[in-house]
Subunit: 154 residues, 2 copies
Amino acid sequence: MSQEADALRAWLGLLKASNSLKKSVDTNFRSDFGLSISRFDVLAALDRAPETGFRAGELSQLLMVTEGNTTQVTAPLIRDGLVKRTKADDDGRVAYFRLTSKGRKVFDRMAAQNRRHISNALADLSSEDLTTLRNILGKIRVPIRDSVVRKDAA
Amino acid sequence: MSQEADALRAWLGLLKASNSLKKSVDTNFRSDFGLSISRFDVLAALDRAPETGFRAGELSQLLMVTEGNTTQVTAPLIRDGLVKRTKADDDGRVAYFRLTSKGRKVFDRMAAQNRRHISNALADLSSEDLTTLRNILGKIRVPIRDSVVRKDAA
DNA sequence: TATAAATACTTTAGTATTAAAATAAAAGCT
DNA sequence: AGCTTTTATTTTAATACTAAAGTATTTATA
């Protein structure tokens, strides 16, 4: 029965570790590049896109955010010339997003700094720790919400 | 040198696990109690407060958020009668926050559901996994930002 | 081929958050 | 007692996010 308590403690530890490291990454990005971690995430996703870029929907799925969020987070990146938004010529509804060369340059510098930052934060973890961590995290099963209102409760 | 890559992968796994479980907890809280995870966090902190409650500053520290945030997150809880805000009578600047009995009742139900939810999400982790996870997470050292502008750079 | 339905995205309204400015009260000089 | 500084909290302006409503555009169908 103490499994509940142990699980809860582990979860709180997970949340705390992730929050504080994330906050530190964000602070660094903001002061060194004037960009938030969310904007960095967009650049990182687009860096792996094909020539044509990603559609808004694809980008949202990769970033695990709503499409409305994608529209908004990309806006300042477009304004600042790091991302280019193009309308598909075969379907007027579709928008493609891709990195500009300026965007790629900025991303490369941010990514390099981020690798160092994270590597430093995890320096006390052995190579085995890193593997173990990933394995354990992989065992977490996020509960699917089952209480979705059934329209036809026949 | 591939430590950097391994560390980065572990970090991304950590972020993903924590984000998705947090989102699922939040979704449950909202649909079952109409409260966000942030508001639950306030109730949880106040549940452990002494009779007098916590001051705004103490609460902020515990929650690891700014005082401005505390003012705002508590506002709707006060409006809805789950939290009581009292001015200290010996120091006009200080505000104390504590749970009302209604607040405590709501918290108890939320906490119970949360324990089940988390326990379920971590059901595949052995008792040893839970310990190992906490140990590994404890090895993470969040980098202190050293670039603070020194006013007297003599 | 006109209209209905579906799709792709953007906009809007609201919550959560921070940093910085504003407010108010207490404490420390002189 | 009257300034000045410090302390405690709130308010304001801005970013990030979601859900739901709105806008086009395309596809299906009668």
